[in-house]
Point group: C2
């Protein structure tokens, strides 16, 4: 049974998930000769649908075959429990049962093609599925935050090669999200404007970190990029909630996502990366807070982070929380901008 434990020293939560059951011998060969899966034994490939837990959702194409499937994670980090149990052990240790959800979005039937190489229509289906599942999970009031992410490549944490995304719903607002909410709120209080709107305006004025502006979105290399070739995609006009995207906005995003990931693939020979959606916390909960003076809808601005995994997190980063980035975002922008997308 997964359990959430609070670290009293760092005020940080860890998910202890023994179902994933790792004994020392599981770590001995970290090169992980890795059961390289072929389409024959890949649980995400057409024909092997029985290898996944029972389907939560499927989006069919006009030919009647599935285009996107959503299934529960076989080794969930968090699970659906009837209620949240908080436990306090002595004066210092806090724990709660791992209430939540952990879903896998199988991005397409294709075993080897990821977003840069799929048909645009397929990427639109993926984005549509994201919106739909996030909305569905946010119906549950126990889920304070729903995090969507995608790991591309083994070094980015993808344990199965077949392209997929993941959604984890958590019973608390994660510390990274809280940090964003706080800085956005503070900025709004001071300036009566959205932080990301201000950032984007300044980036557009300066220009040197703008990789692309199209379809109502802006792609930038963030000013204080922690990682080489890090990118942020955000809507040009203020919007706090990813799940309210119109059909047009979803199509525009699908196209830009493809172009942006194609830049990364072309420039860096298909590097490993993580994609993270940073949308507002559960709107069901927000409504409860609608009497508050400042509205989350005003101060929060949804965005997508793309983190190429080219550098190694080492002792300095763990110990300080600061990152050493050898590639200035202005240089990264020039390289990314100049990448040939016709290939």
């Amino acid at each position: 049974m997964p359990e959430l434990r609070r670290d009293p020293v760092n005020s940080r939560w860890a998910i202890i998930a023994p179902e994933r059951g790792k004994r020392p011998s599981d770590y001995l060969y970290k090169e992980e000769g890795s059961e390289e899966r072929t389409p024959e034994n890949c649980p995400f490939c057409p024909g092997n649908e029985h290898m996944t837990p029972p389907e939560i959702y499927r989006l069919n194409g006009e030919d009647g075959r599935w285009r996107v499937r959503v299934v529960p994670n076989k080794f969930p980090a968090l699970q659906d429990y009837p209620r949240l149990d908080l436990t306090r052990k002595g004066e210092v240790f806090e724990s709660m049962n791992g209430v939540g959800a952990h879903e896998v979005v199988i991005d397409s039937p294709e075993h080897t093609r990821d977003i840069p190489d799929l048909l645009l229509e397929q990427i639109e289906s993926i984005v549509d599925t994201y919106v739909l599942r996030l909305k569905a999970l946010m119906e549950n009031k126990a889920y304070r935050y729903v995090l969507l992410f995608k790991n591309h490549g083994k070094a980015a944490g993808a344990s199965l090669a077949h392209p997929h995304s993941q959604i984890i719903a958590t019973p608390l607002i994660p510390s990274e999200v809280q940090a964003r909410l706080q800085s956005s709120k503070a900025h709004y209080k001071e300036h009566n404007r959205c932080l990301l709107c201000d950032l984007t305006a300044e980036e557009l004025r300066v220009g040197e970190r703008i990789i692309e502006e199209a379809n109502g979105y802006v792609v930038v290399a963030p000013y204080a990029s922690r990682f080489p070739f890090e990118m942020r995609i955000s809507p040009r006009v203020h919007a706090h909630d990813f799940t309210t995207l119109s059909k047009d906005e979803r199509q525009g995003l699908a196209q830009l996502l493809q172009r942006t990931l194609a830049r990364l693939k072309g420039l860096l020979n298909d590097p490993p990366y993580n994609i993270i959606l940073q949308t507002a916390p559960n709107p069901v909960l927000m409504e409860e807070q609608s009497c508050a003076q400042i509205s989350l809808a005003d101060y929060y601005h949804w965005h997508i982070e793309i983190i190429p995994r080219l550098t190694t997190m080492a002792g300095f980063e763990w110990g300080s929380g600061a990152f050493i980035n050898p590639t200035p975002p202005e240089a990264a922008t020039r390289y990314l901008r100049d990448t040939d997308l016709s290939a």
Copy 2:
């Protein structure tokens, strides 16, 4: 010239260090066939002293040969500048020049032997050097924090195989350190006791996460361990400042450090790991604050973190700041405790 940039979205600093000069081509082959160095071309091996920048410190053995050398990092993340220049660009971007220091401690003349396999006397020399360099760097009032860490193995960020440690002095207190200071302070305010002293008392009472208690130190698998087989070493009796250790305390630590890393090596076949010293911020600065009602010396407790690098940081961890740990610390404790140290 290294530059510190503040990320306004996450209130987090990044060090942009273009001297480390990475162009896209530097990242293309991330398997890094790696210029495996042999003692002949290793800059840290005896006979190659001319390959490092000019020595900062050396500790000689009775035979007149060096046992430990300290040299500047060839590609420093931070450098010694005459003064700290803060720049504000527009309303949203803040930057400062990368004031600080970045030193490398060459742990021993041995190219392949790390702490588990060195003579105890040699490890004492390493700990003595740590104390000495930390003290020396804290003389500089511009350095608010001095972080000592050691990366073991390529996957933990060690770019050179010859065992070494690093010290980075920063012009601000890093966010990870601030989080610890805050939680420690809050606990002290509420209970009038040190947080880590309370934690240790509770751990000793419960017992299930105590790996070893010896020489005045306790080795625990932290309650909310983020990583499998994570460990924390802390002094049994309250102490906030690593640099004030007596000869006896340094010897005791050297021995326990060796035993603890030998457990890890024996159990997990020499895995990659990071070691991080979490000591109090620069005491020179603390003295200035001595009029404050609560003293850092009372509420902060120094400790060492050991982070084995067996799991991959993926989208969930980056997006949430929370970690999924498949090995409960109680299980890790049993394995680590039972590891044969006579080998």
